[in-house]
Symmetry: C2
Subunit: 453 residues, 2 copies
Amino acid sequence: MHRRDFLRNTTLAGAAIGIQNQAFSYIPSENMKDKIRLGIIGVGARGYETLKLALYRKDVTVTSVCDIDPNHAARAEKAVVEAGHKKPALYTRGDYDYRRMLHSKELDAVLICTPWEWHTPMSVDAMRMGIAVGCEVAGAASVEECWQMVRTQESTGTPFMIMENVCYRRDVMAALNMVRQGLFGELVHLEGGYQHDLREVKFNDGKQYYGGGVEFGEKGYSEARWRTQHSVYRNGDLYPTHGIGPIGSFINNNRGNRFVSLTSMASKARGLHQYIMDHPQGGASHPNATIQFRLGDVVTTSIQTAMGETIVLSHDTSLPRPYSLGFRVQGVKGLWMDINKSVHIEGRSPAHKWEPADAYFKTYDHPLWRKYEKDAADAGHGGMDWFVLHAFVEALKNNEPMPLDVYDHASWAVITCLSEQSISQGGAVQSFPDFTDGRWINRKPVFALDDRY
Amino acid sequence: MHRRDFLRNTTLAGAAIGIQNQAFSYIPSENMKDKIRLGIIGVGARGYETLKLALYRKDVTVTSVCDIDPNHAARAEKAVVEAGHKKPALYTRGDYDYRRMLHSKELDAVLICTPWEWHTPMSVDAMRMGIAVGCEVAGAASVEECWQMVRTQESTGTPFMIMENVCYRRDVMAALNMVRQGLFGELVHLEGGYQHDLREVKFNDGKQYYGGGVEFGEKGYSEARWRTQHSVYRNGDLYPTHGIGPIGSFINNNRGNRFVSLTSMASKARGLHQYIMDHPQGGASHPNATIQFRLGDVVTTSIQTAMGETIVLSHDTSLPRPYSLGFRVQGVKGLWMDINKSVHIEGRSPAHKWEPADAYFKTYDHPLWRKYEKDAADAGHGGMDWFVLHAFVEALKNNEPMPLDVYDHASWAVITCLSEQSISQGGAVQSFPDFTDGRWINRKPVFALDDRY
């Protein structure tokens, strides 16, 4: 039985491990928590890295691990024990065993590091059980899916954080610092995206994580097993958050500003087919050579905001290219561009000339990075993963609002399905729902205001 | 009397210097011409530079100069005489004196370097008189204006070239060479634009060409006198050709491919007002501080082509920023980006790494640049202006098709009014007319195929 069918059946039947909707299921403790009992759902390529970060922390105990692959669970168990912790409970009995974990009463919080299509049902189930959620990033398949996350968070009161690590990238936080100190003046235009050659992620030999073959789906391993299907069936900006997350911080998204509308255009789809054709393990006779990929190689989305900024997002994951999130932050007084690592500030830079961004980023290094540089040094992804977990744990311990919350999540993730809709309508304008029900007008920024988290 | 009123009156009255529509008014000579008798309309900032380039050439005689400013005409006359040529005839009797020049029978060809709104009427008049036209670039105010150019060229047979110099920029031509030799593989996505801080062009002190004050319109001088008005009244990509011209060459626009649709979004308009407020000659009490500029500081246009490429164009002329046309040429095998001067070619570049573009551009230097590098060395705008004039003169002398023709012009210039339409409709999709009446399917590329022009 597939998970979705099971979910439907258990919901209908109210099966033992089904999750009931519980209003106000989260009861915040009156005092600061010293220690967070943490479970992780999904300890594959990404979740295992997250687990290792959690094991660094003295204020976290990893009590539970869930994965449909027993080998992954065993590897995680080993890491927990080797870090000097108690053996965690393992949940490996298939797709819905995570619900047994949520019922275990061993957990204050759960990290969700599973394939995209599981983020919403797992987050919703955890929030309904009053278990705080730190959810990995993804795009949404429907607008309603985003609303479900929002309404569940609102009705249960359970803390939810979207774990967008790039919001904590050192240069991005320095740029945010510069924005807040007014260096760029009033913001006018921003760019970002996900420009990452994922061909060796989308295809492998069924054994190793990256490359070595042109297999995916049932014959693929790890991300190639599920992620590549989205490139076969969907055409839109599948992965908007690494670009739009930081931009959301820059423009105070849902906090005095919001995304209002978008249009999206997709190029032809050539890269993945070409990769299969050219690969030593592929070629014209390989069964995958006949597959038509729907995902345009480059998807460009233009967004308008309530305060009049424009945003251009790129999604470019099927062609040979160096990695670049392509940030641009442009205001009345100057701009930063990521791709050439340069800044121009009027009155400070030589007229009409670029300066290296490095010097600015040293001067405007965010207080959080200054304080925690050493702690983050050993962590993955340039340290930003350390910061996103740190923020989740600290906000939870202190009963404070999550710095990247369910409204951030919904307004970022919805870009994926709005982008698909726009492309399917030849580029027609799509409106963003206001997931805050108008509260964006008066909500105040909370992200990284000081050096705590 | 204003020019437009005069035009209407003279057309109605069939006045002596009115221009009648003449089918097949251009009679190509049977033999190659040795020498082109050239007139120039508009010898201000731009036209004077073009004039000086024409004076370098042994196969051109500048017989006529037209300008509404007698000082400009006198300066031009001086330059012609100093170059050892016969004194040119001067036409300075107001807006329509160019028609007297067109009637003079002194001309084989005319270069049009006047404000944007004059390009179409002057080009149309010259074509009707059988005088070949080299027209400076601009955007169109209406779709019909583009059709008028196309239909006039078709009915008269008069050669028309749109003088887009960036098509001849050395790196752009090397990139074209790389495209044609298949280095990038099948093209997928392209970017370009006009990102140029024009604030000291849009405002001056009424005496000097650039800067020194916040005046424009009647109190401004040179471009500030007319160009800035477009920023007050219009909101769209006002100047698309420097970006889209080269991209048109890369994708074989109107020659096996064409632009099909676009959407356009404009940011808020802040830069020009801020400039007036901050300028020592400006400030809150300056009359221009109350003006509301309609032109969004950054206008982004996404274009779809018949062959499935996407194109993103930027227009960004009102904010402090270093100059950049922001080219990106991306295919199945790799990409070039202008802003970081880098290339990545699969199998040749280190995986996931950029290489400096310079080495590629040296290897793939276009034959035209190799041959004429020294001739172009003294010319303005990095030599590209020399090449665009060279192409016009050579094609004309040889009775060969213009390398950048009226279909190029129409499909580039129409972006401006389609962009305005899209923005006024909140980003709605606009369709490009097929100015070739379907002939784009079978037309073959002609631009820069060899080292002649």
